[in-house]
Amino acid sequence: MRGFTDYAVTFLAVSATVVVIAPLMAIFAYLVYKGASSLNLDFFTQIPKAPGEVGGGMANAIVGSAVLLALASVIGVPIGIGGGIFLAEFGRGTRLANAIRFTADVLNGVPSIVMGVATYALIVSPHVSWLPFLGHFSAFAGGVALGIMMIPTITRTTEEMLLMVPHAVREAALGLGVPNWRSVLSITVKTASPGIITGCMLAFSRVAGETAPLIFTVLGNSFWSTSLNRPIAALPLQIYVFALSPYDDWHRLAWAGSLVLIVLIVLAVSLVRFVTSRGVLKGAS
């Protein structure tokens, strides 16, 4: 009887794994099947045509997403790395650092739509006037929303990577008379930089797929636009709008866009895995 239970549980565990992996395979296969056929050069070079017309692409959405992510990285990466440096180098063991670490983890769990609502209230709402170019939908608002989402993730991963740098490296630098700030920046951070870049890529790929905060901050745009002061197209947002539309051609574009998005994210995640598995601290060993 005990042996039978053992076999039964093994069977259940294996079947659970199969049931879990199956949707993943199904999603990938279906995406490739539906998206690959509609993926052509037009997709990357043309803007969407009027509904009902055949053809067009999502070039403006790809460019728009790139603009948004660049702005988000400019905001999120320096502040995030700075926070991580504080947690690992200056605040180790202090109560403030523990509080910040906990808050960063909790902030990671806040839904992205709430971030979008807060950004709307802060930047997009017509009543806002603390800066002259605010008060309307814009790429700036979307970039800020995405950048704020990147900060807690990058802070935590930077901290983890910096904690892995052996003390001997820091002591050697300080023993040579290098000022503390220089030692942290040029030696510790540089040693951990593969890992830190990996963490930034992780945050980047997570934010690249976010749609909810963009719906009412950048609003979307059917035309070419790279201005930070105007609504801009974004790939996930465009996919959302097209998937919900009643036009077959737009559905086709949505599938192609989903395929592009998922390929980018799979590449990023695989790269992250590859770098971390090969050993982050090549410089220190």
Partner: protein, 335 residues
């Protein structure tokens, strides 16, 4: 012995360096500012949400969350009527709870099963690959889950699952067959389950790996089978952490927007049937915020966003504390 007449290069170099205390203090201050930005972000979000939801709070008060105005003619509840200004969060709270609980019911056994398989039973060569696949599931953006669900899952539910459910379980009153669209709480529950599976499973794996091997060896030495060893040696010790992992999955799915918006049917009503259309807190914000005309409408939506904010913070904090308690140390980084 006096000072040597000729300073060596090293001494010249060291003496020429000024005091770096100023730069050090400046750098320290800059890093502290960056770290404090995390607090600033939370405070900023909370302030904006509270300020913007003030209008709805003054209009409805606490009633917003558990009561609705009734229509004077039909005596039916007026849950969400932007035109006439009747707002109540009830249908969205109901929808969020129902879809989340359904998802948990479906996801937790599967996730724990996967974790058990990967930690205790899987051959080492396969382990990395399968773990990578589950991690990939977690990295897929919500919108892609939504598009896939709309195109594949909803027709599947409409053609196969829903008729079967309403035929065989319709007697319970929870599976009416009056919704021919395939959208609804059940579809939302299924896609949510698929989305939180990797989180719960990877955290459970981490928590199970944190159980010291001595526990496993002790139970095996007493003559247990592998399942008994898992049950008594590992799961019993990792119980708290697994509960924390489940709560973390709950926290993640409470705020899930895109996939839910596309499959839940977006109907601000409360129905007992699990196959009925509904809406969720995040879904209504995503759908109506950009087009809200009146300030009261936007304020009501912001109040729902504030409730979502508070609830997810509380749930996530509780979950992190539980996982901390078991893994003891810096908490796991979850995508």
């Amino acid at each position: 012995m006096g000072r040597p007449t000729h300073d060596s290069e090293v001494r010249k170099f060291l003496l020429s360096r000024g005091n770096s205390a100023g730069a050090d203090r400046g750098f320290h201050g800059l890093m502290v500012l960056c770290a404090l930005s995390i607090f600033a972000i939370v405070v900023l979000i909370a302030t904006e949400l509270i300020l913007r939801s003030n209008l709805a709070w003054k209009a409805f008060g606490f009633r917003f969350f558990f009561q609705a105005d009734t229509d004077s003619f039909s005596h039916l509840p007026l849950f969400w009527d932007p035109v006439n200004g009747h707002f109540s969060a009830l249908p969205f709270i109901y929808g969020t709870l129902v879809s989340s609980l359904l998802a948990l019911l479906m996801a937790v056994p599967l996730a724990v099963g996967v974790a058990i398989f990967l930690t205790e039973m899987c051959p080492r060569a396969l382990r990395g690959f399968l773990a990578f696949l589950t991690e990939l599931l977690a990295a897929i953006p919500s919108i892609i889950y939504g598009v896939w669900a709309l195109a594949v899952l909803v027709p599947m539910m409409r053609e196969y699952a829903n008729p079967l459910l309403s035929k065989y379980l319709g007697w319970s009153g929870f599976f009416a067959d009056d919704n021919p669209t395939g959208l609804g709480f059940t579809s939302a529950g299924v896609i949510l389950a698929i989305m939180i599976l990797p989180i719960i499973s990877s955290l459970t794996r981490e928590v199970m790996s944190a159980v010291p091997h001595s526990q496993r060896e002790a139970v095996l030495a007493l003559g247990a089978t592998r399942w008994e060893m898992i049950r008594m040696g590992v799961l019993r010790n990792a119980r708290i952490g697994i509960v924390g992992a489940i709560i973390l999955g709950l926290g993640r799915e409470l705020g899930e927007t895109m996939a839910v918006t596309m499959v839940i049917g977006n109907t601000p009503e409360i129905h007992r049937s699990l196959l009925a259309n509904g809406s969720s807190m995040a879904a209504v914000i995503a759908n109506e915020y950009a087009e809200a005309v009146t300030d009261l409408h936007r304020s009501a939506l912001t109040e729902i966003g504030l409730a979502l904010f508070i609830v997810t913070i509380v749930v996530n904090a509780a979950a992190r504390l539980l996982v901390w308690a078991v893994t003891r140390g810096t908490p796991a980084r979850v995508n």
